[in-house]
């Protein structure tokens, strides 16, 4: 904008650069441990590696099980499928539910919203064993479908609340006008409301993806083959009872973070792209 002082620009950039350094500092260590061939945990204050070796990455990417299956390939595939399915399912279920809460009045509306919130308060300690028994009865143990369903359900409450809050800021007049013109409710929902809520969809999609992508304990308990493990489970294999292979673990942590960064990079423009034509609001 015209008139923004040069000083303000320089200051803002400086603050942001400083914050980025503080933010990235601990992660530099992860990189350092990943690039150092030893498996010891690095404690020196200097986060820069003194030798560069890709051995840890090679070990990670080349791991095979006894039958010679390429583990990383399988595990990456499993993680991608489960996380994508969770995202799609979670966003789909959440947007429809949130639309109902935002646009309709019906008995049980308030209770429903609170119920969604309340499920977030269930401490995980209580849920693990009952979930195991439940999935067992549904024959969904050791399956990607089972995991997807569990992860989606965990992610939905936040997504519903987030989407509902966002839908509430979209004026109803647009929809009323289209309704009068004869459009069906579903058409209004998909062609008018959803596109306007794109930023919220991005947030909920990212959130659902992360919920599934990083989850370890349920995946490790439910899955029964090394080739059906997801990446976090594979990563935790490097943490043992007495010692941890920090070099390989750090390499794994880096690899696991890259798809998330890539996803965010791709979705960024929808998050901050802003709304299209003016005159859409107010």
């Amino acid at each position: 904008m015209r008139g923004t002082s040069y000083l303000k620009m320089v200051l803002t950039n400086l603050v942001l650069i400083l914050l980025c350094i503080v933010t990235l500092y601990p992660v530099l260590w992860v990189l350092k441990m990943a690039l150092t061939p030893s498996q010891a945990f690095s404690l020196s204050p200097n986060p820069l590696p003194d030798q560069i070796s890709f051995q840890n990455f090679a070990d990670l990417l080349g791991a095979t099980d006894m039958q010679g299956n390429w583990l990383f390939g399988h595990q990456l595939f499993n993680s991608v499928v489960v996380s994508t399915a969770t995202t799609i399912l979670g966003v789909f279920l959440a947007t429809t539910a949130a639309y109902a809460f935002s646009r309709f009045e019906f008995p049980g509306k308030r209770v429903g919203m609170i119920a969604f919130l309340v499920t977030q308060m269930f401490p995980g300690v209580v849920m693990a064993i009952p979930l195991y028994i439940l999935l067992d009865k549904l024959s969904l143990l050791n399956s990607m479908l089972g995991l997807t369903l569990v992860y989606s359900s965990t992610a939905i409450p936040f997504c519903v609340w987030m989407m509902k809050g966002y839908f509430d800021t979209i004026p109803k007049d647009l929809e009323e006008a289209a309704f009068i013109d004869g459009a069906s409710r579903w058409k209004i929902f998909t062609q008018i409301t959803l596109p306007l809520a794109r930023p919220a969809i991005v947030v909920t999609a990212l959130f659902s993806f992360m919920t599934a992508w990083n989850e370890f304990i349920l995946a490790a308990t439910f899955l029964a083959e090394e080739t059906s493990f997801t990446l976090p489970v594979a990563l935790q294999s490097y943490v043992g009872d007495y010692s941890t292979d920090w070099g390989r673990f750090a390499a794994g942590a880096i690899l696991v973070s890259i798809p998330v960064m890539a996803l965010f990079f791709m979705l960024q423009k929808h998050l901050v792209g802003g709304l299209t034509a003016g005159g859409v609001k107010g």
Binding site: F106, P123, L206, V272
Partner: protein, 727 residues
């Protein structure tokens, strides 16, 4: 999008079918383990050989990450999804045999003679043997021959070497080991003639001999002969840099030593004051047979093969100190030298008790050790406290109660609520409204269904457990006793860090401080990042997202390392600025601050992303109009931006606080509850009750239910906030 979903589900279905098909093969013996590195390679080599010679009963192997291993076993075995045989350390076999997970072993006299007696004794419980021993694991004395040419035979010699080599300021030590860990301290305790349990099998942590062993270590620490706040990473670093002459550690340590560093391993010295050898814990890694196995005969053959025939490959390639007295070796092969050294320690070891009470010993023992070594208590005082804590944690279950009254009450309540609801629907024409709102229910149904099934049902089941007490595999109904115990603070005064109220207070403070920081930082960043003249804002956003993207297990531990008193980066920075180094985990406020710093680093990116999204709902014309009217940036923010942000931001804030309230990882990994459990929050306490204090699942479930009720109360107050915003 729809296509991708269909593909995804199809693929999932395909994989399910394939997996089901695989399961149908006859007499495959499933083996689970959590080995890595050399041990895993040796095990797999042995299995390949076995499968070649036994094609009709081949072994199928699964490597399970250690963190999830024990839980996976206890969940899967009783339900028929467990392995036929599995490898694990011997310490839990008491619990497992009581829970009927294991099959008893009846080795022939000849077979029994093949193993070291102590290894079989460790596998004995209730007069029976429960597995076949594979390997022995204990600590011993690693030393650097350049610094310590001759390893010490007595503790007096050891102290002399330590005095010669140690220079606190330079960070050089004669001996470095994890003094704050009860596992490592046990060697001295047994060397002083101490014990964990007395003749009646009751814990006696504060016996005179135990106190003397702690005084011994305390003196070394006070004389500056040991590194402060020792952890495994520090020990490894000191040894690798040649700044530690001796290290007490187990065979796994060899993997952390630099390739070109010369070292050797000797048995631990004899305690000069008593003349007894320092006797570390002996862990016997054994192979167990599941009581639910469907192929027990073939499984037993496989077990014998791994324990006896495969001992050679395990002792050479696997570098294990095998429990078999004479492993069969190839001509010209020798037992691995590391393994041989540890075998020399074996006669002077004490098997880890497999008594279920043992599991409850670790936490109080470790807490008192660390407190004493920090200088906050004297040895006798510290051990007395540990003994009291242990007594509380191992108290017998509350009296069993008759469930009939509770069931009757529950039925009455449900009927009452149902009746009230029907009455309300009738008088408020609720039925008509429901029929009119059919569309809404259609939109709602899918989400509601999955939530009820996958969240509500498990939760109700889990909560129901809080009405029971669990001891060693048995549940007894105790009505509200668990709740009464917690709320009346029966075990601890309310101001004690381990009482429910103290922990509740800490949890509330933790939540408030974190949410405040996350929201202010996240919002500030989002506002800064929307200026159009900021060319690099895309890059900044990517970089600031990183804490959210990297798995928090490793970053939390890095933060913990940064707060280390002597070698951490934070104190390094403070010293550089001219301040005194802070002992972060010795006091409540600094420990709390460390947790908050880590959690804030991890949490602000999420708030930033949510705010960025929420900002899109604000039409820019409004702000431009205000600017033209002369409103300054601060006024604009509070009168226009903030109110418009609220609807989209409030869910994240509310849910963010709920998640922070239940944030387990950071507290567990960074401060670990130090000092002495003061920085524990409710959810970590619940976890400890469930998993480290005798598996008191009922008590833990009651704790979890109380957490839930506390959050409901909190949400009612925020609902009030929400209602105001509607206008």
């Amino acid at each position: 999008m729809r296509r991708a979903r269909i593909y995804g589900l199809l693929i999932a279905a395909l994989i399910c079918t394939m997996l089901l098909a695989l399961d149908a093969s006859a007499a495959t013996i499933t083996l689970w383990h959590s080995y890595r590195g050399d041990e895993r390679a040796a095990l797999e080599g042995a299995i390949l050989q076995y499968n070649e010679s036994h094609p009709s009963s081949s072994m199928k192997v699964l490597a399970v990450p250690y963190e999830a291993y024990a839980n996976k076993l206890t969940s899967a075995i009783p339900r028929g999804h467990g392995p036929d045989i599995f490898i694990f350390a011997h310490e839990r076999l008491g619990d497992w045999s009581k829970a009927s997970l294991l099959e008893e072993m009846v080795p022939s006299r000849r077979d029994a003679d093949l193993f070291y007696k102590s290894s079989l004794d460790a596998l004995r419980y209730d007069g029976k043997i429960w597995g076949l021993p594979l390997a022995l694991k204990s600590t011993a004395l690693y030393y650097n021959p350049k610094l310590v040419p001759v390893p010490p035979k007595t503790t007096d010699e050891m102290l002399a070497i330590m005095r010669k080599l140690t220079d606190q300021k330079e960070g050089r030590f004669g001996l470095a080991y994890e003094a704050g860990s009860f596992y490592f301290h046990a060697a001295w305790m047994f060397g002083f003639g101490g014990a964990i349990f007395d003749e009646n099998g009751q814990p006696s942590l504060n016996s005179d001999a135990n106190v003397r062993s702690l005084e011994f270590v305390d003196r070394m620490m006070k004389d500056g002969l040991l590194p402060e706040e020792p952890n495994s990473a520090l020990i490894a670093q000191l040894f690798n840099e040649g700044r530690a002459g001796m290290v007490i550690n187990g065979p796994w340590f060899a993997g952390e030593i630099e390739k070109d560093l010369e070292y050797d391993v000797a048995p631990l010295p004899v305690v000069s004051e008593t003349g007894l050898a320092a006797s570390p814990f002996l862990t016997v890694e054994a192979i167990f047979l599941s009581a639910h196995s469907k192929h027990k005969i073939e499984a037993l053959a496989a077990m014998r093969y791994l324990a006896i025939d495969a001992a050679g490959i395990r002792a050479t390639k696997g570098r294990q100190a095998v429990a078999l007295k004479s492993p069969q070796l190839q001509p010209g092969q020798q037992i691995d030298s590391l393994a041989a050294s540890f075998l020399k320690q074996a006669p002077a070891t004490t098997p880890m008790p497999n008594n279920p009470l043992m599991r409850a010993v670790w936490e109080p023992a470790a807490q008192s050790l660390r407190k004493v070594l920090r200088g906050a208590a004297e040895p006798r005082e510290g051990l007395n406290k540990a003994q009291t804590q242990l007594r509380v944690m191992t108290r017998p279950a509350p009296d069993a109660k008759d469930p009939t009254i509770y069931i009757v009450l529950l039925v009455l309540v449900i009927l009452g609520v149902l009746a009230y609801w029907l009455y309300w629907m009738y008088t408020n024409e609720g039925w008509r409204d429901m029929r009119k709102a059919g569309a809404a229910y259609t939109y709602l149904a899918p989400a509601a269904l999955s939530m009820v099934l996958l969240l509500f049902v498990p939760f109700i089941v889990g909560t129901a457990v809080s009405f029971f007490a669990h001891r060693q595999g048995e549940f007894t109904f105790v009505g509200l006793s668990n709740f009464v115990n917690i709320l009346s603070s029966a075990d601890y005064p309310a101001s004690d860090p381990l009482s429910f109220y103290f922990t509740l207070g800490v949890t509330i403070l933790w939540t408030a401080v974190n949410v405040l920081l996350h929201v202010s930082i996240g919002m500030a960043l989002a506002l800064m990042l929307r200026h159009k003249w900021l060319k690099l804002r895309g890059i900044y956003r990517m970089l600031l997202i990183v804490p959210w993207a990297v798995p928090n297990y490793i970053t939390a531990l890095i933060w913990k390392g940064m707060f280390h008193k002597q070698f951490g980066a934070i104190n390094g920075f403070l010293v550089w600025m001219g301040f005194e180094p802070v002992s972060w985990f010795s006091h409540f406020w600094t420990s709390f601050a460390a947790n908050v710093a880590t959690n804030t680093w991890l949490g602000f990116p999420f708030m930033m992303v949510v705010t960025l999204g929420a900002l899109q709902a604000i039409p820019p014309e409004l702000e431009e109009a205000a600017e033209m009217d002369g409103a300054g940036p601060v006024r604009r923010f509070f009168s226009i931006t903030l109110p418009l942000l609220k609807p989209a931001l409030l869910p994240a804030v509310i849910l963010g606080s709920v998640w922070t309230f239940n944030m387990f990882n950071i507290i567990y990994l960074v401060s670990g509850g130090e000092p002495e459990g003061a920085t524990e929050i409710l959810v970590t306490e619940a976890y400890r009750w469930a998993f480290t204090r005798q598996e008191q699942y009922g008590y833990a479930a009651a704790y979890a239910t109380l957490i839930f009720l506390a959050l409901i109360f909190y949400s009612n107050t925020t609902r009030f906030l929400m209602r105001e915003k509607k206008g």
